[in-house]
């Protein structure tokens, strides 16, 4: 079971994306957990949950280095969500991006 965490500013816009991604994942019968948090909550969440991949919303990708520093020592893959896919809230394409990170 793979866990993918999406990060944006308030956790709101990414949560829209998450709903769509979950729908696609369910239809495909994939064993994957997807959720969204705000950048402020990263540390708290990582304390209690095992996360395999972190996808950054484009509007917070300028914080990439700072966030990567916080992931030090944890085995978490990080990538930036493709801007077009994010803008169109394309659940399937972003899910594919996540899958190419964690492998299914």
């Amino acid at each position: 079971m793979k866990t993918v965490m999406l990060v944006c500013a308030a956790g709101m816009s990414t949560s829209l994306l998450v709903t769509k991604m979950r729908r696609v994942a369910q239809a495909k019968g994939l064993d994957i957990t997807i959720f969204a948090v705000s950048a402020t909550e990263i540390d708290d969440v990582l304390e209690t949950r095992q996360v395999d991949a972190l996808l950054l919303g484009p509007q917070v990708k300028f914080r990439r280095e700072e966030i990567e520093a916080r992931l030090q020592g944890k085995n978490i893959l990080l990538d930036e969500i493709n801007i077009q896919h994010y803008g169109m809230m394309d659940g399937e394409k972003v899910l594919n991006q996540a899958l190419s990170l964690v492998g299914s």
């Binding site: 816009s13 484009p58 300028f62 280095e65 169109m88």
Partner: protein, 439 residues
């Protein structure tokens, strides 16, 4: 032009990073993040105690008795009016995380430091009391400075390694409470000294000093239209480069705007004239109508007037979140980011909306926002009503109208280009199919 934009973009990222990634601003943001839900709930109670509909007060007193309003003011009093306490706790925790220090130790030390500098009064019957206002908005900037300073002292001592080391056989919790002793002692000595020094000056207390020399000028500045417009341009430019401008700006402005809101709330609760036009409610509900850039109007245009397939789809997608102030689908989907055509109305619109709302309130047409912290995702018109009554709701309607008028020509040209591209793509697809060539 492309070069210029790329140049600017390469500078924007690091600049935003400096502002948003700065550990003190992060601590301040974390501080308010923790307190927002309390402020919202406290505001709901304030609102319930003061709903601006005729006949409400009489109805409530017939239901709950003469003192009905006091049933609602206590939750408000212990949240909004004591906000600094919660903010410094959350800030201490955030900084302790950044510096990898003991969270509980930092929180307790910060609260102690703050209380040392908080003036206390002797009550008539001989007991000691803390005026609650010092724990609220008027102590906010002092609290933020104290939180940062106290944790820095702890960090300094931690770095120097001055701590009481217990032998390994001692249980960890016991050892931790001993290791917190020295930093706590230092902080208390330092802050007590500061308190004594200030009590010998004409200011009397540190709080009075910070309040008059830092908070009041900042609040005064924050309440002006020009300052707000400048901040908005900055926010808009950041967004135009795909950086979360609102996050960066609110890290700096939120303490100021929320302190202004708290002032308004206190006046509202006391039935007095509301002092500040600009505050967090103004920003969240009369500028960010549908999200930064006043994009609800834009979402409506896409939904009703888009001709290209791409934007028709986006319109259906963006209207739902847009009503609740989430406009990333528009910002990244049109996109507005790095799009010179859309950037113009995107930055102009909030400036126009702010100016219109400001003068509507300054001239007395629309009541000033009453200081109740509603969630920022509250849809426009409803939000306008909750903070400024039905005239506020009407103002929101007017603002949506202005947004539609402003965005329309710009969006139309973008839509035309998209439609053109779609038609050309269809042409190439048809001719690639080996079918009849139409040109």
């Amino acid at each position: 032009m492309q070069k210029f934009i790329e140049n600017l973009e390469s500078k924007m990222g690091p600049l935003a990073m400096k502002l948003d990634g700065n550990r003190y601003i992060t601590a301040i943001k974390d501080g308010f993040f923790g307190v927002m839900s309390l402020l919202i709930i406290g505001s709901i109670f304030l609102l319930l105690g003061n709903i601006p509909i005729g006949g409400y007060a009489e109805f409530m007193s017939s239901l709950l008795g003469k003192d009905w309003a006091s049933y609602f003011t206590v939750p408000y009093d212990v949240t909004m009016n004591v906000m600094t306490v919660y903010v410094i706790i959350a800030m201490a925790r955030s900084l302790s995380r950044t510096y990898k220090l003991d969270g509980i130790a930092c929180i307790s030390i910060v609260v102690v430091a703050f209380l040392i500098l908080t003036p206390m009064l002797e009550l008539k019957d001989g007991g000691l009391g803390i005026p609650v206002t010092n724990l609220g908005a008027s102590g906010l900037f002092l609290g933020m400075i104290v939180a940062i300073a106290a944790v820095e002292i702890v960090r300094f001592i931690d770095k120097k390694g001055w701590k009481i080391k217990m032998p390994d056989s001692v249980p960890e919790n016991v050892a931790r409470s001993f290791s917190a002793l020295i930093p706590a002692l230092f902080v208390i000595i330092v802050f007590n000294l500061v308190r004594i020094i200030f009590s010998l000056t004409s200011f009397g207390t540190v709080q009075a000093f910070i309040y008059h020399y830092l908070q009041v000028p900042l609040l005064y500045l924050g309440d002006t239209l020009p300052a707000t417009l400048i901040v908005t341009v900055f926010e808009g430019v950041l967004w135009s480069f795909g950086i979360h401008g609102s996050n960066v700006v609110s890290g700096i402005m939120k303490p100021i705007w929320l302190a202004l809101t708290a002032d308004n709330a206190a006046a509202f609760g006391a039935g007095e004239a509301i002092p500040h036009i600009i505050n967090f409610q103004f920003y969240a509900n009369f500028m960010k109508v549908g999200g930064f850039g006043g994009t609800l109007g834009l979402a409506i245009i896409l939904l009703l007037f888009a001709k290209s397939k791409q934007y028709k789809t986006l319109g259906k997608l963006a209207i739902g979140p847009g009503i609740f102030g989430i406009n990333e689908p528009l910002i990244f989907g049109i996109p507005i980011v790095l799009n010179p055509i859309m950037m113009i109305p995107f930055i102009l619109n909030p400036l126009i909306l702010a100016t219109v709302a400001y003068f509507a309130m300054a001239s007395g047409i629309v009541p000033l926002t009453n200081g109740t912290n509603i969630p920022w995702t509250t849809p426009p018109i409803i939000a306008g009503f909750l903070v400024s009554g039905w005239k506020g709701a009407l103002l929101n309607v007017v603002q949506i109208g202005i947004s539609i008028l402003l965005y329309y020509p710009f969006f139309k040209s973008v839509d035309r280009i998209a439609l053109q591209n779609e038609k050309e793509q269809e042409k190439t697809e048809i001719s690639n199919d080996g079918g009849v060539n139409f040109n």
